[in-house]
Symmetry: D2
Subunit: 253 residues, 4 copies
């Protein structure tokens, strides 16, 4: 039997503006990355998203972003390591506030968009954020989107990290992801094949046909994919057959 986590970005609505399909997706995942109110989300959305996660027994983490709602946190900015660290602590703490009501613990941190890119590009920024996390709670897990940042996390004393893989996007042979402007429908069966392949063998086929290593213990699903729920159903249908057990991050770390 193999154990794997499924994570999804959640709580990215803002005020009257809706985004994603949190209610449809939540029943199928094990970890919700909840926007912290900087690139997306607000206190009301956070509360509702934490509540929805609690109803489905889904573990929660914070999905902190840059203070740039107009750019949805997707534009890198020349902020210092300390600034990023403080933005993460702020959003992480805020989520902890909402978690308390359900007796829930914030289990992980997964930076969003341009903040993630900045950490991946600068070890100094990555370390500052990771050390800031540990000061808040030494049990927090860093959910790492690429191998560079995963390796930095491994080097930070006392920090647990999980590497995540993608199945509704394509990989290049160098294990970088091909991110598309518009999120397209994907064939649920092909995506589920990839899920099984990563979960059981730690490999996936890159766009050029090559088999590449993706040693992931968590799989990220894009909730704004128009057929995200179908994809998740197809994945769940494969679990028994392949002896895969869904598990939360603390169980797979």
């Amino acid at each position: 039997m193999v154990w794997i986590d499924i994570n999804c970005d959640m709580g990215e609505s803002f005020g009257n503006w809706r985004m994603g399909n949190d209610e449809g997706v939540m029943p199928y995942i094990t970890s919700a990355n909840i926007a912290g109110g900087y690139h997306a989300g607000d206190p009301h959305v956070m509360r509702e998203t934490v509540e929805l996660a609690a109803e489905h027994g889904v573990e929660i983490g914070v999905h902190p972003g840059l203070p740039d709602k107009m750019g949805f946190g997707r534009r890198t900015m020349d902020a210092s390591p300390e600034e990023l660290r403080d933005y993460v602590v702020y959003q992480l703490g805020a989520l902890m506030g909402f978690a308390r009501r359900h007796g829930a613990t914030v289990q992980h941190v997964k930076p969003h968009g341009a903040m993630y890119s900045m950490l991946s590009d600068s070890d100094e920024h990555a370390r500052a954020v990771m050390e800031g996390m540990l000061e808040v709670d030494p049990d927090l897990i860093y959910l790492a989107t690429d191998m560079n940042i995963y390796e930095v996390a491994q080097d930070v004393e006392g920090l647990q990290a999980v590497f995540e893989g993608y199945i509704d996007l394509d990989y290049r042979a160098d294990r970088s992801l091909i991110v598309e402007k518009e999120v397209d429908e994907r064939d649920p069966e092909l995506v589920a094949d990839r899920f099984v392949s990563i979960a059981t063998e730690g490999v996936v086929e890159a766009e050029n046909g090559e088999q590449i290593d993706v040693p992931a213990d968590s799989i990220c699903i894009h909730g704004d994919n128009p057929n995200a729920v179908e994809i998740l159903e197809a994945i769940h249908d494969r679990l028994d057959e392949h002896d895969i057990q869904l598990a939360s991050l603390p169980e797979v770390v």
Copy 2:
């Protein structure tokens, strides 16, 4: 011997804009009400203010405001009880994030400006915020600026509250405060007299000369008063003579 707390609003700078005199005032107080990033403050300012409080052994609370930096949180808005509650939980949680690093606990909640007025005017809003606090941490103390809100707090099951008095502003005979547009210098000795009068007898002279009851266990000092430090020194000079002991909120509740 009487015990009394001295609280002060802190951390109201924002980015490059400075406000208040936190470094000057912190050595003299026992409770810092730290802005939560909505009406004032930001993650960097919060971190620095929490650190400054820790250095001086000052207890911290959150000073949450409305999401209105342009109006400095001083304009009431038609927000629902649930919206206010969620704004408080968000800012409270964020401060808890920064407190963790120092092993500190957020001990109290004191709403700012127009948010305070809204709670004072609507029991429903006040209750929602107070119940929200308790869901985050049942040990949190509500620091009550007027008697109306203090009484609501008394009625909320399980909530501890402390009533605060003012000495650098004048009271009307009905115990309402005369708030001035500009913060003026005050005679430190007269202000210290009032401190002693409230601390030892629970009374103060109103503007019309009448003695009124101000049964306060905490005294609020305005840190942006141009001679706030002088006032605080004058107060400290009286403590021994009048057998007054400064204490934190949990000690006076």
Copy 3:
């Protein structure tokens, strides 16, 4: 032949968050009320919306809101007449900036949501905003959502105003509107009947069956109504038969 304007709120997307159906609706209207970036909209959205209006020969006005994106400008706040005036001048000027590129003129001002309510409730606020408009451009037309504000506008020296009617919402007998939480589909033929009735006779049937006066020279359509385009098509189909001519605000004022 009667002349009437059709106006619709536009440009209420923000960053990555979409709202409304501007592209579907624009071909059918004569006046676009474009969000000014406070309650909704941003510079990029404004530019695109002005461009779309120019392509369809639709006249533009500003739809200024309160500085409250989290509440979508729907929460009244205790702002002064001068504050509202300055918020309107700011957003109006910004739209003028984008209009210049198309040689277009901003022709009208229609305050959004809670800002509109505040002007309707306080003549002093309404006058401040209207006088502020005239200082920017004396040719600007105030598009009045209710009779109270229309009458204030009539009293402001030199200000032109147009009263607007609603056909995709129901009126009470006192000419107040029944605003619903969720925008529902409406029967296009019934809505078109109302359009004709207001345009040709200045009357509409209230929810209690009574005929009431709605002396409107402009009709507001909600672009976020799920069948807004169908409704607009049904209206256009009636124009010839009833000898109704669509016209811009300067033509109907």
Copy 4:
């Protein structure tokens, strides 16, 4: 006789937070660069600053910044040329709204902080902003902070540009500026010497003692310098003796 402009950044207060010394400085300058509400400023501050400029017969320009109040617009961000252009048009238009009341015209554009750096580093971004300006008003002058951006401006068909020099900061021999974290007092007489030197000979002494060319037709003064007013007085005292005439940008372009 030589003609030269003196410009200063203005209107950088925000809500209750004060910055700069606009009232002290305005009587001595010829061009005010007014913050557009993105990195600093707000509608009320803009109105007051435009009014103050009008009282002193000072010409106005917009000082647009990035949408980053927390970082005071001093952090470059990965925004597209079109995004920057739209931020400038928005803030420029807003200022035009306030100018109308005084029959004033916005005469120039001088990007702030990190936005300026981005334009200096990328000709594509610079061109987009400059072409956006011209679409709003072909008479607008671009006030160029360095030679790179001045040269791009010269290449944009139909755009007038003025190169500005600095006298309260030191130049390196390569004509780059030594920007200090804290704005220090400067000897007014030495600063006034530099003013005369640039105005009459177009040269200044760099930190290494070398004479370098600074062919400026406008001089920028930092209004937040603690002795800005003294410096400006020293400059004004030299005007007659050296036959220097203060003039607005359209006069020196």
